[in-house]
């Protein structure tokens, strides 16, 4: 009989499968629940306190006045600026990511597939700061973009772009355009991978069926491929949107030093010591991402993660 070897403890859990599941889940749940959610709630709680403007001390009394401050012109401009940037970055990433994802999913085979995959993973996982720094080299006034533009006798075009109101600036590294380019660059791989995963799951026969039913390649693309790739694109946009909303380092290194949500929060909790307002600011991305996740889940984006 096999029974001689089996341990009694195993029988105990065999009769109580739910208990074993609980034992597995409890430590990670406690970690995420206490360390992560606990901290998050502690933070949210502080957003209902306020800062005494004279003493600079936090008043531990329930108030909505901190949220009121969010709606002041300068603060509201920060929110608007960040959300617009996140939206622009997301759209641009989706457009840039699609050809790469489509090529990798449908045409790359064998070693070229591995190469494509690594080519996307490499920048995704290489040092974030290194990448931001690289763009400083590229976008600086004496940097590569200027040099290339001059070599191509396109210096006038660069100057024209920089002369644009709002988005322009003294050099690309000190303008919204620069911030935008770097955001797109840094988050692009997050868009490529889920889009590719979604496209991989489109069976070739569907494309053939569409062609068989008389659709031109363009129609097939619009009516079959794009709708099926959408959950992947939405999954990718969770990252591009969320990461842009919260980043504070990129605008600090490349940009015109107008504050985004991230840099504001950083400044408020640090030098200003206004934790309640910092907390209120973080509630905005949390709420936006909460809504975003609910919508994304409806669209089936979670299966594409």
């Amino acid at each position: 009989m096999t029974a001689a070897v089996a341990r009694p403890g195993s029988d105990f859990f065999f009769r109580r499968p739910g208990l074993l599941t609980l034992i597995f889940l409890l430590p990670p749940l406690l970690w995420i629940g206490i360390v992560y959610l606990g901290s998050l709630f502690a933070l949210l709680l502080q957003s209902f306190y306020s800062l005494d403007e004279f003493s600079g001390l936090v008043l531990h009394e329930f108030t909505l006045s901190t949220y009121g401050h969010l709606l002041e012109y300068s603060n509201f401009a920060i929110l608007l600026r960040t959300v617009l940037m996140a939206a622009a970055v997301t759209i641009a990433s989706a457009i840039l990511a699609f050809p790469i994802a489509y090529y990798a999913a449908r045409y790359a085979r064998g070693w070229s597939k591995a190469l494509f995959y690594l080519a996307v993973m490499m920048p995704l996982w290489s040092s974030y700061l290194v990448k931001v720094y690289a763009w400083k080299l590229i976008l600086a006034k004496e940097g590569i973009v200027t040099w290339v533009a001059n070599q191509l006798y396109l210096g006038w075009l660069l100057d024209a772009v920089l002369a644009l109101p709002t988005v322009g600036g003294p050099s690309l590294s000190i303008s919204y355009i620069g911030t935008f380019i770097v955001f797109v660059y840094i988050w692009l791989p997050y868009m490529i991978l889920p889009t590719q995963a979604a496209l991989e799951r489109v069976p070739k026969t569907l494309i053939e069926a569409s062609a068989d039913l008389g659709a031109t390649p363009g129609q097939t693309f619009r009516t079959v491929i794009l709708p099926l790739a959408l959950p992947g694109i939405v999954a990718g946009s969770i990252f591009t949107f969320s990461l842009t909303l919260g980043d504070y380092i990129i605008p600090q290194i490349i940009g015109n030093s107008r504050p985004f949500i991230g840099s504001t929060v950083y400044a408020l909790q640090g030098t200003a010591g206004d934790i309640p307002l910092a907390a209120a600011f973080t509630v905005v991305p949390i709420v936006i991402m909460g809504i975003y996740l609910v919508v994304a889940r409806r669209m089936g984006a979670f299966d594409a993660l």
Binding site: M1, T2, A3, V5, A6, S10, D11, R15
Partner: protein
């Protein structure tokens, strides 16, 4: 003789679903027993109750006289051949087969020798260093069989063992399984939804529907004398005669089954042998099936299929036809 497996009023409910509903059943030692039924009829759950993957909600199960409730699978001298084979992809064929022996602490040399022996039995000697992913479906099935048999179980459970194989391979495996069972003398219990498989392989068949056994018996018994319309229909698609039709043609006023191959076509005004009866109807379809031709006739509101030797065929769709059968071939059954 001792019962290999005994179910006494066993039920297994999943929430409101009664997967197995008050089943009582005895399977004798050395039997080749088939559990037949459509999907969701409870046959696989019964198998899993024997294996120990499920525990009964109520009732009592004995395996060779030992109470089985509460006993985990690894404390039962029962082994299973899984529908998807469930071979371990990270082990070679030899390691797969020797797995049960390794767990039991059999020395390496000894278990390797036994694994090779078991692989020989399923005609796969020389395959022990391959990976399951390098095998065909039929070969994987044999490995799964060897992996179970090497442990010398007293009961072997087979869950739709031939379901994934193509027709020719399936017929070959049917013969081999039958021979193997005879040779080893182990009790085989197998689950299938294929009535042909069940009838040709098993000594005894239990037919499941909606969690209950609706009929159990020898294959010929079940085939010839279905007890209900469900069984008649499921086992070999017998014709079901309405009580009115049956009464008009020399039977009782009950539902009756009539096997298509018992019917022959009659010449008009032919004198039938004693004990025979006949009816007339409209031919609605004629399909050639090699040795026989299948004719469907609509007669007095009954749809009746007949299998006739191909050479007798002189009829075509739209003809009016007289057909005859021995009265004894119409078997009365319950309305269910």
């Amino acid at each position: 003789m001792q019962n290999a497996v005994s179910f006494q009023h066993v039920s297994r409910h999943f929430g409101a679903v009664r997967a197995v509903d008050d089943v009582s059943l005895d399977i004798a030692e050395g039997e080749f027993f088939a559990m037949l039924g459509p999907s969701g009829s409870g046959k696989t759950t019964c198998l899993r109750l024997i294996a120990g993957f499920e525990q009964p909600t109520s009732g009592h199960i004995e395996i060779f006289g030992t109470t089985a409730e509460g006993l985990p699978p690894y404390r039962r001298n029962v082994n299973t051949v899984f529908q998807d084979y469930a071979l371990f992809p990270h082990m070679t064929v030899g390691e797969n087969v020797a797995y049960g022996l390794m767990i039991r602490g059999v020395a390496r040399a000894e278990r390797e020798a036994q694994a090779i022996e078991a692989l020989k039995m399923v005609k796969l000697d020389g395959f022990q260093t391959r990976r399951p992913s390098q095998l065909s479906g039929g070969q994987r099935q044999r490995v799964a069989l060897a992996r179970a048999l090497v442990n010398k179980p007293r009961v072997l459970l087979l869950d739709e063992p031939l379901g994934a194989l193509d027709l020719k391979l399936r017929e070959q495996m049917q013969d081999e399984l039958k021979a193997l069972q005879k040779q080893l003398g182990i009790t085989f219990i197998f689950v299938t939804h294929d009535q042909g498989e069940a009838l040709s392989m098993a000594n005894r068949v239990a037919i499941f529907n909606e969690g209950k056994i609706v009929q159990a018996g020898a294959p010929s018994d079940v085939y010839e004398r279905p007890r209900s319309r469900f069984v008649a229909d499921f086992v070999g698609s017998a014709n079901v005669l309405t009580p009115d039709f049956n009464a008009r043609h020399g039977g009782e006023k009950t539902w009756a089954s009539l096997r298509p191959e018992k019917i022959r076509l009659a010449l008009p005004k032919e004198k039938l042998p004693t004990g025979w009866t006949s009816a007339t109807g409209l031919v609605t379809s004629v399909s050639y099936q090699g040795a026989v031709t299948r004719i469907v006739i609509t007669s007095e509101g009954n749809r009746i299929a007949a299998m006739v030797p191909a050479r007798d065929l002189t009829t075509s769709e739209g003809d009016t036809l007289t057909f005859a059968w021995p009265r004894s071939a119409a078997v009365a059954m319950e309305d269910a």
